[in-house]
């Protein structure tokens, strides 16, 4: 009824679907949203773009009632509203598809869709009605899904479809999607955008949260840009370009190119042959991966998140024993039946900067100095005696902090009290101190501020030039293109191919990430 379907000759223009005025929100000392203004016209697809940690998700959670704003106004379809819970948001006609799906895995699709709007005290009353709604949505938008399948058994793309159905079932006219393509294959993403387009034609207003420029350019009508908790610009998508958006996102001209000399690769220091990893439940994470990394070069690993890169890192780091195949590090061979253990890998000469510093790289409740020996608590950093020498540990941490510009340089400060960038620098300092022959790095600059990104990139290049073999996993294509000398692309646990940096650009890599081998792509 509303939006695009409104007759043009009407008395007045319809009010904006969403209007936010001066919305602010802080968590403790961190101000996540500062005076945010936002206007979204009905029946459009509006993008909100910004780096990780720019405050996009917080803003959407406020709009959906999961967080409460400290101050500011919200106006939905011209009427001021108070949204204190998701129930209020749903009553305002807002539906949300969260970044992390909110499905009960041991419920059927039908039960998941019913949850919250069961249609009566007894389930029997609403069940057929919900089934009919499912059928209707399937027909109208091509969102077919088996109502009686267990949600946990569905592939990710279908799970997301269930989430969209959940958001729309009550007739929501505003749909928020938070980073919807992060877990999708390119094909799934294409079909998602098709569905969104159909919804738009039907008058649904869509808010698309993403940090991917190409999605904004391809799918949205208008776009708002956020940076460090603030709204820094609004644009019509047709009147802007990726360069401008990128500049707005990071606050200055981005140097996508990292200054580095050409690589001087010499001996092979890290190699795998036929490496495969299977979970105890039988899920195969990586299949038959073979590559080599030479001293003095960076091998970049590109791919959509969740295509085996994390597992590859874990296998190389000794955290996940290979099922078949071998890993060779500085002449030492680790086979499937051999011992695979992070301690052994470190002793051989491999250092590992993990993808997720909060999950793996740091113990947030520990002091910085205790984190500085994580993984090295049997090494000389902790003193020579049978006991851990407190003074030696503190001195070691102090040295790392001054050498790698960790601020504040207080070894007694608890890790959680450092900024993301300084936490990451602490991890990098610890791993680089080992002067490793081989370094494996995952997402080195995720959630890190611009200044630290440059610093970290320079440190990686310096280590390469000092003769280390570096394997870099990143889901940011720009980062891989900027740092790597050769690039391996992974899809569904397999290596699609390895190409030289000089042959690589976003298009070729994009095709490879979708699983199309370079010779076919060419």
């Amino acid at each position: 009824m509303a939006g695009a379907a409104e007759p043009l000759g009407g008395a007045s223009k319809p009010p904006p679907a969403i209007e936010l005025r001066a919305v602010s929100k802080s968590f403790g000392l961190v101000q996540a949203n500062k005076n945010i203004d936002l206007v979204v016209q009905p029946g459009t697809i509006h993008g909100i773009i910004g780096e990780n940690g720019a405050g996009k998700s917080t803003l959407m959670n406020i709009l959906y009632g999961l967080h409460q704003a400290d101050s500011g106004e919200m106006i939905i379809n011209g009427a001021p509203v108070q949204i204190h819970s998701s129930a209020d948001a749903i009553a305002c006609g807002i539906g949300m598809v969260h970044q992390h799906f909110m499905l009960v895995p041991n419920f059927t699709v039908l039960e998941n869709v019913m949850l919250g709007s069961e249609g009566g005290m007894l389930l029997a009353e609403g069940r057929e009605e919900t089934r009919a709604t499912l059928q209707k949505l399937a027909e109208e938008y091509g969102m077919t899904v088996d109502a009686d399948a267990l949600a946990g058994d569905l592939p990710v793309g279908l799970q997301q479809r269930v989430e969209i159905i959940k958001a729309l079932k009550g007739g929501a006219k505003i749909l928020i999607l938070d980073e919807p393509t992060g877990v999708l294959t390119p094909q799934e993403a294409v079909s998602l955008f098709k569905i969104l387009e159909t919804l738009k034609q039907d008058g649904v207003t869509i808010l698309l949260i993403t940090h991917k420029l190409e999605e904004i350019m391809a799918a949205t009508d208008t776009v708002s840009i956020m940076r460090q908790g603030e709204m820094v610009g609004h644009r019509a998508t047709a009147e802007t370009n990726p360069e401008e958006l990128a500049e707005l996102m990071v606050g200055r001209k981005v140097l996508l190119r990292v200054d580095k000399g050409t690589s001087q690769p010499s001996d092979v220091k890290l190699s795998t042959s036929g490496l495969s990893c299977t979970s105890p439940e039988g899920v195969q994470f990586i299949r038959d991966v073979s590559f080599e990394v030479r001293a003095g070069e960076i091998l970049g690993v590109a791919g959509i998140a969740g295509n085996g890169q994390s597992e590859l890192l874990e296998a190389l780091a000794g955290m996940r024993p290979p099922t078949t195949g071998t890993i060779e590090i500085l002449g030492q061979t680790i086979t499937a039946d051999g011992q695979s253990d992070p301690q052994i890998m470190r002793r051989v000469g491999l250092a590992h900067i993990p993808e997720d510093r909060h999950k793996f790289g740091l113990v947030l409740g520990f002091e910085a100095r205790e984190n500085a020996i994580l993984g090295y608590h049997y090494a000389k950093q902790t003193g020579d005696g049978r006991l851990i020498e407190s003074k030696a540990v503190t001195a070691h941490c102090q040295a790392l902090m001054s050498a790698h510009d960790v601020r504040p340089d207080n070894p007694y400060l608890t890790a959680k009290n450092f900024s993301g960038g300084n936490q990451q620098k602490l991890v990098i300092a610890r791993e680089m101190h080992a002067a490793p022959g081989v370094l494996i790095v995952g997402q080195p600059t995720r959630g890190v501020d611009i200044g630290a990104i440059e610093f970290i990139h320079k440190e990686l290049i310096a280590l390469r030039d000092a003769g280390a073999a570096i394997l870099l996993v990143s889901v940011e294509l720009e980062e891989v293109l900027g740092l790597a000398d050769r690039i391996m692309v992974m899809n569904n646990g397999e290596q699609v191919g390895i190409i030289d940096r000089s042959e690589a650009n976003e298009q070729t890599l994009g095709l490879m990430m979708a699983g199309i081998a370079p010779e076919k792509a060419a």
Binding site: H67, H98, M102, L103, L115, G116, L122, L123
Partner: protein, 322 residues
Amino acid sequence: MSEFALQLLLTFDATLRLAAPLILCAMAGIFSERSGVIDISLEGKMLSAAFTAAAVAHLSGSPWLGVMAAVTVSMALGIVHGFACITHRGNQVVSGLAINILASGLTVTIGIALFRQGGQTPPLTSGERFGPITWWFVEGLNTIPLIGTIYRELISGHNVLVYLALAAVPLSAWLLYKTRFGLRLRAVGEVPEAVDSAGVSVVWLRYRAVIIAGLLCGIAGAYLSTGQGAGFVREMSAGKGYIALAAVIFGKWRPAQALGACLMFGFLEAGAARLQGVELPLIGEAPVQLMLALPYIMTVLLLAGFIGRAHPPAAIGEPYVK
């Protein structure tokens, strides 16, 4: 009828009497744990309820007033548990433990203050407790062999709370699987975020779950002191709350299976009581202590996956933070 068959029948009869509080507490545990709140305070709630029921029944002369008071006290303890673990996101095990210890101390302290009998209540007269209900046609059917005896001993002749315990099972199953409340309750114990984002209050759902748990434990406690026994004695719950917890796990958090576990555990206890000091062929003296420990041993084996697998609700034990 042979002596053995009669003995067996009497053991089944005792099984039912011993299982009744287990069944009620197990259903309580299922509601709480299915909502994501660990409840080791079944024991303490039952003990407090047993005391309250006996004390109020004695003072008022009515077992029904006793039950109502017991349920109120037990629900209040449930709310304390909720206040600690749901509102203040405290550790659920610690909170449950606190309630159990509080119950041990409070029942005796108040008991002494009220009755000066070393923590017991005065013995209840028959009017102050729940007597057996004789069903229709017991006399008529008595002449039929087997069926008559079974009807007389096993089906008829229990007090009303035993029948209530048995009724609680299908009622709980219906509530869990056929109603809106049940769907939401099961969801909140698995993925509370899903419930929250569907616009349903996680906090209120969990509070309702711990209050229902309080209600059921309250009846169980009243049964101990005004149905099975005739008055309160200190520590009269004697670990039954923990056996019920074991039954919840053994029944994989499902009412019907938990009923089976309760009956099995009750049968072991009834059998142990009957076999005390009895010489068995081949085995020698009956291993009574082993029989009493079997519920715990079997639960350990089940949890460890040696006999099947029990999957607890995914969000159990974790306070919900938006």
